[in-house]
């Protein structure tokens, strides 16, 4: 019985150490597992895949560095997909602290595909206003974004001269760490009919499934797994794919801990009776 007592009262620092090793070892040994693509991610992928060259996709950075490990790989995979298909990208965001992360990804991926700023993509930056801004862009983008991230007038870029509101944007990709996705659906989607899909953190993803079921959004990339699945579809391995074996190992370990903890609880409870 001492064994079950000890099992139920393991020092949490031992658990932290075991979890830490479970994260480090698969990364260092470069363990690989096959990645199965889910329907929700495939649906999101096809919403970009069926767009012709020259279409315009708006990507909204609605996260900050705290959610970067989950959403940054998604952003890179989506940018690679867009640039592969010669789709123009407009980067914006509702979270001010996330825009620099978007800029980093944009510059990195644009260099990989020899894309030129102002010709193939633009970063129009952040403006406060949140809901009012999302509604306002439906009327005229320039009411909020007369200049880009570097204070250059957006009309000095050829492809932006034809973009005035959501009618001129083919798809929105929202990368969500909070509730901003709801605002995009409620206002840009419902009021203006803008098509969209979301990449969301694991915490935010469950709240978006009702929109998917109601066909208000095209798809969902949920967490690091969603990023890995999208990378598989785009055929470009990134941090998402590298993290999946580790994720699987740690999940298995957590399940074992939960089983052992519960076993210890029930054995001790039976002993007390």
């Amino acid at each position: 019985m001492k064994f079950w007592d000890r099992l139920g009262a393991i020092d949490r620092r031992i658990i932290y150490t075991v979890i830490g090793l479970a994260v480090i070892i698969p990364l260092v040994t470069k363990l690989t597992f096959p990645i199965r693509v889910s329907d929700t991610v495939r649906s999101a992928y096809h919403s970009i895949e069926r767009l012709p060259a020259g279409s315009i996709v708006m990507i909204s950075i609605d996260y900050d560095a705290a959610s970067g490990p989950e959403l940054q790989p998604m952003l890179i995979a989506v940018l690679r997909h867009c640039f592969k298909k010669d789709i123009k990208v407009i980067l914006t965001g509702q979270w001010a602290l996330g825009l620099p992360l978007g800029e980093i990804a944009l510059n990195q991926v644009a260099a990989e595909y020899n894309k030129k700023y102002g010709v193939d993509y633009i970063n129009i930056g952040y403006r406060p206003g949140y809901t009012a801004l999302i509604v306002g862009i439906g009327r005229e983008l320039r009411d909020f974004f007369s200049t880009d991230y570097k204070r250059v007038p957006i009309d000095s870029f050829a492809f932006m001269r034809r973009v005035h509101n959501y009618n001129d944007i083919n798809l929105l990709v929202g990368l969500e760490a909070g509730a901003t996705g709801d605002a995009w659906v409620l206002y840009a989607g419902a009021r203006f009919g803008l098509k969209m899909f979301f990449g969301a953190t694991g915490v935010s993803a469950p709240d978006l499934y009702p929109y998917l079921q109601a066909k208000q959004i095209e798809g969902i990339l949920a967490g690091l797994q969603g990023a890995a699945e999208y990378e598989t579809l785009v055929n470009e391995k990134g941090t998402g794919t590298l993290g999946m074996p580790t994720q699987s190992v740690v999940h298995g370990l957590i399940i074992i801990f939960i089983i052992l903890g519960n076993l210890s609880y029930f054995v001790l409870r039976k002993k007390q009776k």
Partner: protein, 203 residues
């Protein structure tokens, strides 16, 4: 190049300082935590000035003419009145801009919620009960809504509605919790990947 190296070492040091809390609370963790809060707040202030106040208020006030110029005084004054919240004597004045903000929020919120959430979700629940998925979905929605209907006490046989609802609610909580665990592990993987790849160059 040198700035990149300094930045990487700084980030790695702060990451390890935060992780040191797993052993026990210590001054290194407290320093890193306070630094994060301070830098985030400072960054936010700079961003609001550089991307909101200066281009949308000050620069536009200088460049616009006529009504488009003077109308900018309205949000400027409302914004300044909001700051009276900090004073005990004049705090009542801040009710004006707060009322304005709440009014806009309510107006947008009501129309958005009805048009973007209530009606589409109701429409999506009106499904033909021809497949097992549709049956489960409709039963789940109806029983869950009835669970939160407190004007009638469900007794006897009708209590089964509440029991079914509890199963659906618990399943959704379990799914949310599972997603949350996955998210937290993903964040840990991201940080460890940074330490092993960008800092130590092991992978």
């Amino acid at each position: 190049m040198i700035l990149n190296i300094i930045g990487t070492w700084l980030a790695a040091g702060l990451t390890i300082a935060i992780f040191s809390f797993l052993y026990k609370d210590n001054p290194l963790y407290k320093f890193a935590e306070h630094l994060y809060v301070g830098v985030s707040a400072g960054f936010g202030v700079i961003y609001v000035w550089a991307f909101d106040l200066k281009p949308m208020l000050i620069d536009r006030f200088v460049s616009e003419h006529g009504v488009e110029r003077w109308i900018l005084l309205v949000p400027a004054i409302l914004g300044i009145l909001m700051l009276t919240r900090w004073t005990e004597k004049f705090a009542y004045i801040s009710r004006l801009p707060i009322a304005f903000t709440v009014g806009i929020g309510a107006g947008l919120g009501i129309t958005g919620s009805v048009q973007g959430f209530l009606l589409p979700q109701m429409q999506a629940t009106l499904l033909p009960l021809t497949t097992i998925n549709n049956v489960i979905l409709v039963i789940g929605v109806v029983t869950t809504i009835l669970y939160f209907y407190f004007s009638h006490e469900f007794k006897g046989a009708s209590n089964i509605i509440l029991r079914v609802a509890i199963v659906f609610i618990m399943v959704s909580f379990g799914a949310s919790f599972g997603y949350t665990v996955m998210a937290r592990i993903s964040l840990l993987i991201g940080r460890v990947f940074f330490l092993l790849s960008d800092w130590l160059h092991i992978i």
